[in-house]
Each structure stands twice: as C-alpha cells, then as structure tokens.
C-alpha cells in the first residue's frame, strides 16, 4: 500500500483520463477560465471604483477663516497641530483671496474694484486625509477648530461632503453587490460544469466501485484533474486579462485620465494577483471536483 505507488497510480490515471477523453476537460477549463476572467475583471473594476472614490476624496476642502490680524504665532501653532493630524495646510492671504475671487467671478469682477485693499479675511485651506473624509468626523473637527482663538469660522462644504459620502457608499455597495453576484455566479456555474463533466463519466465511477475501489481511491484522480483544470482555467483567465490590459485598458485609461485614477491595470497584473488567481482557480477546480465526484459516488 505504498503511498508513492498510489500517488503514481492517481496521476497516471488522471493524465490518461485527460488524454483519452479530452472533451469534458477542455470544457471545464474553458468555463473555469471564463469565470475567473470575469471575476478578475470584476475585481479590477471594483479597485478602479475604489481609486476613483479616493481621487474624488481629494476634492474635499475645508476652509478655516481666520480673524484679520491674528498673531502669526497662533496661526503657526494651529497649522502645526493640523499638519500633525495628517492635513495638508495652506495659508491664503487676503490678497490671494481677492485674486481668487476676481478669477472666480469672471466678467462680474469689475464690481470688486470698489473694495477696500484687504476686504477678505485670511484663511487656512486644508487638504483632508482619507481618514477624515466623512461628514461626522469633519463636523466634529469644525466644532473643535471654531473654539480656537484665531478662528472666526470653518467652512467645510457640508453638502458636498455628504453628497460625496453618499456617492462613495452607493458605488462601494453597488460594486460589492455586483462582485458578490459575479462570485456566486462563478461558483455555481463552475460547480455545475464540473458536475456535468463528471456526470458524463459516471460509468467510470460505477465500474471502479464494482471492481473494489474505495471512495477515496475513485476520488483521487478526479481531484487531481480538478486541480489541473482549475490551474489551466486560471492560466487561460490570465491570458485573457493580459489581452484586456494590452488592447482595451489604454483607451479606457485615457477616458478616465481626468479623474486622476491610477491605472486599474495595475490591479490586474503583478505577481500577487497572478498567484491569487491561480490559487482561486485551483481551489475552485478542486472543490468543484470534490463535490461532483462525491455526488457521483453516492449515486
């Protein structure tokens, strides 16, 4: 009952099965490949959405209006404190504020000509780190800052932030939902295909049992086949993803360029994703075959 002898028998048996009856294997690999390809694209898509959200997040801006003539030291302390919490801080002098307002008002700017030389108060403009891009957190921050000495008011675009938060939630949940559906569909379709592939060979299972094979003995070669199918399917999916990366991603990226989203291609490729996909493929193939052959054994 040498383990090596048995392992050899199982591999021989699996390879013979594939050689002499290639069709169900080809179909299983194809289905696994398509399923994993779709899954891989889905994952890349959800990463792209994640990036999109992060880049939209950079547009959250908080303006901290300062008392005109507040001591420079106080302002520096405040800036330092905010920087320490991860915010980007930029001082906008009254002059810069007027210039900007002029720009923003466009043709209506003539109206500003009548203003005093420094009519707008100075302000700090904050770049908000990801952890703070949340209406509740920002509201708390605003309250806290308002109590500081040099601060007259905090303007954090409540409506915009809430809107952005809602958009992020919606996209995230929508993406998650879509991905979950895709995952379920993959699992169901793959297991259905493997069931059918082994159903096409149910005679074999029956005969092996009649000749005195234990369930484990019957199952082993099918598991090896499932493993090989899963890995071949993953390889097929990788080829497909590489093709997408090469032919389809560049034009899509140009379209998305304005969003400053880092290439979703990065998510598609790389050693880690490759190994992950191979692993998922192997697992799917193995598990699917296990279930299918168990079913055939019970019959």
């Amino acid at each position: 009952m040498g383990g090596v002898a048995k392992a050899e028998v199982f591999w021989r048996s699996a390879l013979q099965g594939i050689r002499h009856q290639p069709f169900p294997h080809v179909v299983a690999v194809l289905t696994l490949g398509i399923a994993l390809f779709t899954l891989g694209l889905g994952r890349a898509g959800s990463l792209a959405v994640e990036h999109l959200l992060r880049s939209l997040g950079t547009e959250v801006q908080v303006t901290v209006w300062l008392r005109p003539g507040a001591p420079q030291a106080d302002v520096d302390v405040l800036s330092a404190a905010l920087r320490g919490r991860g915010f980007g801080v930029q001082l906008v002098t009254p002059r810069a504020a007027v210039e900007r307002l002029t720009r923003e008002l466009g043709p209506a700017a003539d109206a500003l000509r009548g203003l005093a030389s420094e009519p707008l108060p100075p302000s700090l403009e904050l770049q908000v780190p990801p952890a703070w891009r949340d209406p509740a957190a920002l509201r708390q921050l605003a309250d806290e800052l308002q109590r500081q000495a040099p601060v007259t008011a905090v303007d954090w675009g409540e409506a915009a932030v809430e809107r952005l938060g809602a958009l992020a939630r919606a996209l995230r949940w929508g993406g998650l939902f879509a991905f979950a559906i895709l995952l379920c569909a993959t699992v169901v379709v793959v297991s259905a295909t493997l069931q059918l592939a082994i159903y096409a060979r149910r005679e074999e299972v029956e005969i092996q049992k009649l000749v005195g094979a234990t369930d484990r003995f019957v199952r082993a070669p099918f598991l090896i086949e499932g493993l090989l199918q899963g890995m071949a399917g993953a390889a097929l999916a990788l080829v497909g993803l590489a093709a997408v990366l090469h032919w389809v991603a560049p034009p899509l990226e140009t379209l998305f360029a304005f969003l400053r989203v880092p290439s979703p291609a990065a998510a598609l490729w790389g050693l880690r994703s490759t190994l992950e996909l191979l692993g998922v493929g192997a697992l799917l193939g193995l598990l699917g075959s296990f279930l299918a052959v168990s079913r055939a054994l019970r019959a």
């Binding site: 002499h20 074999e204 005969i207 009649l210 000749v211 005195g212 234990t214």
Partner: protein, 229 residues
C-alpha cells in the same frame, strides 16, 4: 464460502426476481449456475458481491453477512471476489493493460509488479498483443477475455463469472473454462453462470438450475439423494 438463506429479491413494481433461494457453495467448489433468460442468475451473483441488497434473507460470503455490511466495507469484500460481468464493464478510456491492472492498483501493488502480472494474465487469455488498445477497439470476444483477465489477475478467493463465454468461439470457450478449472484447483471458489449446455455436459460439475427465481434443481443435492437413496 457462499451461503444463502431464504433469499428473496424483488424490485418495486415487479414480481420478485429471486424467491426463497437457499444455497451453499463450499470453499474450493466449482459450480455452474444455469437457467433460462431472466431466471435471476445475474441477480443472484450481484447479491453475492454486494451490488444489490436482498429484500429478505441472509447471505454469508466468507463468513460475513453481506446483507448487513457497512457501505465502507464493501470495497474490501469485493477485492476478494473476481467478477466477470455479463456486460463487461470495462473503463472505456483506459487501455486494456490499465483496465486489468486496476484491480491491482486498488490493492496498492507497485506498477512494476502489477504490469508483469497483468501481461502474464493477458497472455493466458490470448490478448498480450492488445495490451495497449482501448476496449472500444476490441472485438466482443476480446473484450470478454479482458474482463476474465481482470477478474483473475489478483487471485481472488471467489470468482463469479456471468456468461463468460457468450462471445467466444468453441476453441476459446474450452481454453477459458480450462483456465477457470485450473484456478479452481489452486483453491478459488468458482461460480459460472452459463446457458451453454455443452459446457455442463463436458465438465460434469455441480449444476444449480434457476427458473423464475427459484432453485429448481441442484446436482449436489440430487447426488446426495442418490447416494443416500
């Protein structure tokens, strides 16, 4: 070796296939099982190697009650029983060699050893030149001989042969029957289901005759009757 007590087998919706069969086959015996088509010969053999459970009655095989055996023990029972199936049951996508070797693979016999034994067995049934063929490319008689080789290759303690010569010419039939006799002489209990009256004549072994699921004659008993009578 094989004992049946009041065995009845019926499939739902049909009249019983076997009715109250009582039977004892001793270790080392050679028994012909005969009877018209549909009499229940195959069913009787299937009960012995646990492919079906009896509806009623007890069956002892090598001392084990197969009517009550656990599913997990069935493979181990079957390893001691060589079966020549009436419908062959060859793995269609394995070579002849691998088909015959399968019974040895199951036992964990190393390939080098099993290969040798398989080739020797194939030679005995006259098929050494077809070792690498797939079963679908063989003639009916060749397939039948592969099944016989598979049943014999692991020296089973019991051999059940269901119509083993239905596709063989008279010359081969005698060769195969002689082979079975030889195996029997070496200690294997042999049960051969057959229609071939000339075989019954020629070999003068114990004959159990089934008709409509009942044992209608058994030469062992009649001899016993004759001896006591």
């Amino acid at each position: 070796m094989i004992q049946m007590f009041h065995v009845t087998k019926s499939y739902p919706g049909d009249p019983p296939v076997l009715t109250d069969v009582n039977l004892t086959v001793d270790k080392g015996e050679f028994v012909f099982l005969t009877g018209p088509s549909g009499a229940g010969k195959t069913t009787l053999l299937r009960l012995v190697f646990c492919d079906e459970k009896p509806t009623r009655g007890q069956i002892l095989v090598g001392g084990r009650n197969v009517a009550r055996i656990r599913a997990a023990s069935v493979p181990y029972l079957r390893r001691n029983i060589g079966v020549v199936f009436q419908d062959f049951k060859l793995l269609p996508h394995r070579t002849v060699l691998d088909n015959v070797a399968f019974t040895l693979d199951v036992l964990g016999t190393p390939r080098s050893e099993s290969r040798e034994r398989v080739l020797r067995m194939l030679k005995l049934v006259g098929l050494q030149h077809k070792a690498e063929s797939l079963p679908l490319k063989l003639s009916g008689g060749e397939q039948q001989r592969v099944v016989i080789a598979r049943a014999l290759v692991n020296d089973p303690t019991i051999l059940l042969a269901d119509e083993p010569t239905g596709n063989l010419d008279p010359g081969l039939t005698v060769e195969i029957l002689d082979l079975l006799c030889e195996v029997n002489v070496r200690g294997t209990t042999v049960v051969v289901a057959t229609h071939d009256a000339t075989l019954l004549e020629r070999y003068q072994k114990r004959v159990i005759r089934l008709e409509r699921g009942r044992v209608v004659s058994d030469t062992a008993q009649s001899e016993a009757v004759r001896r006591t009578g």
